[in-house]
């Protein structure tokens, strides 16, 4: 079996062993969304107006929490250092891990956002736009949060440092996605913005794994 298949198979088995890893972020997302009307008002017009933005931010947070410890257990078990002996460049393996993470951990999160949308009475066409922006934008977000996770591997008391370090880099993605949502609400053309967002994701997905692998190598070099 090739390393690629082995990697995906391992990821699936890990999910089977710890299903909570998938459900906790979803739970978090729905919980945060339920707080919104409680903190604001059960006024469906008001909720519909801010709903898509709230869902975006909540999904972003859920994704960050989810990705923060992406490499932590493999690092402390010493499995991560074995990756260096596999017959592939580390950046490629890291990319695979990120793809697997997106498929098995981020995608389920996106798929439950319609429920959150219903809770905040977001109109259908905006909800569809929301789903599309999440599909297009989350690869970039996953890569960046993976980098945050890798950079803080070596520090034992980092807390949520990885999240804090990476959050400012999300700004362009959030702005572009919000632009798409605004245009979807107006009914104007969203395609150019989606294309930009997609381009950002593609570039991030090709370049960030290299930075992640450098960060991992660096932390392996420093651990005893």
């Amino acid at each position: 079996m090739s390393i690629e298949k082995r990697m995906l198979a391992r990821e699936l088995k890990l999910i089977a062993a710890r299903p909570g890893d998938i459900f906790k972020p979803m739970w978090f997302l729905i919980l945060v969304i339920s707080m919104v009307p409680l903190a604001l008002a059960p006024d469906s017009d008001l909720l519909a107006e801010i709903g898509s933005a709230m869902i975006w931010v909540a999904t972003l947070l859920a994704l960050l929490l989810n990705t923060e410890h992406l490499f932590q257990s493999d690092f402390s078990d010493g499995v991560l250092e074995q990756w260096l002996f596999l017959d592939r460049p580390l950046a490629w393996l890291v990319g695979l891990k990120l793809v697997a993470h997106w498929l098995f951990h981020v995608l389920p999160l996106i798929l439950i956002t319609p429920i959150a949308g219903l809770m905040l009475s977001v109109p259908t066409e905006v909800l569809i736009a929301l789903l599309i922006t999440l599909f297009v934008a989350t690869p970039a977000l996953t890569c960046f949060s993976g980098l945050g996770a890798a950079l803080t591997l070596g520090s034992s008391r980092s807390g949520i440092l990885g999240v804090l370090v990476m959050m400012p880099l999300f700004v362009p993605v959030v702005i572009l996605a919000a632009g798409v949502l605004i245009r979807a609400t107006d009914g104007s053309d969203t395609l150019p913005l989606l294309a930009l967002l997609g381009a950002f994701s593609v570039v991030a997905a090709t370049l960030v794994p290299i930075a992640v692998s450098a960060a991992i190598r660096l932390n392996i070099g420093g651990s005893n």
Binding site: R6, A9, A17, D74, G78, V79, G221
Partner: protein, 202 residues
């Protein structure tokens, strides 16, 4: 399987960590059939030396060559087992091995019975004892054909029987033309090894 002849040449290696000089002017030659035990007190740089040889640490000064080639070209011929568990607790014994090795299941199962984990292949590692977990990590020695073994504290948590089994396996490996480097605090009885003492700089 019989390995091609291997020559490891360490010349003028020097390493400093956290402002402390661990070793300097370290030069060793190792060839097929040799076993080297790296000894020394805690903090002498044993793990650092092994990890440098495995390519996990950058060389600060000096050179390591394998068959006259730089180390980087040889990483896939190295089998490194560190002192961390090297296994994932939430996976089964077999799945752990399957991820790190590209060997079919029958070979993996025979490796598992060699380390006394026969019948445990479907158990999760977290259900095993510490010694059994260590055996699972060491099972790779029976199914991967890398000529260079670098083992950091392989004897930790092993019982007397398993120590004997491991000694026999290392002896067999070097007889086939392999090389083995290891560290330990309990000198093994049945191995014919050379010792490198670290911890005498300044």
């Amino acid at each position: 399987m019989i390995f091609e002849p291997i020559q490891i040449e360490i010349s003028q290696l020097r390493c400093e960590r956290d402002d402390r000089l661990l070793f300097k002017n370290l030069s060793i030659k190792l060839e097929s059939g040799q076993i080297l035990r790296v000894a020394g007190p805690n903090g002498a740089g044993k793990t650092t030396l092994l990890r440098t040889l495995a390519g996990l640490f950058d060389i600060q000064e000096g050179e390591i060559r394998l068959n006259q080639q730089p180390l980087k070209e040889y990483l896939e011929r190295i089998l490194y087992i560190g002192h961390k568990p090297q296994v994932t607790k939430d996976l089964t014994v077999l799945d752990n091995l399957k991820f790190l090795t590209d060997v079919d299941e029958t070979a993996l199962k025979s490796a598992l019975s060699a380390v006394g984990l026969k019948g445990y292949h479907d158990s999760l590692v977290k259900e095993l004892s510490q010694g059994q977990g260590r055996r699972c990590a060491l099972a790779r020695l029976w199914c991967v054909d890398a000529p260079i073994w670098i083992l950091d504290e392989p004897y930790t948590a092993l019982d007397v029987d398993m120590v004997k089994t491991l000694d026999a396996r290392i002896t067999e490996h070097v007889a086939n033309g392999g090389v083995c480097l290891f560290t330990t605090h309990q000198p093994p009885q049945q191995l014919d090894y050379q010792t490198l003492e670290l911890g005498h700089v300044d």
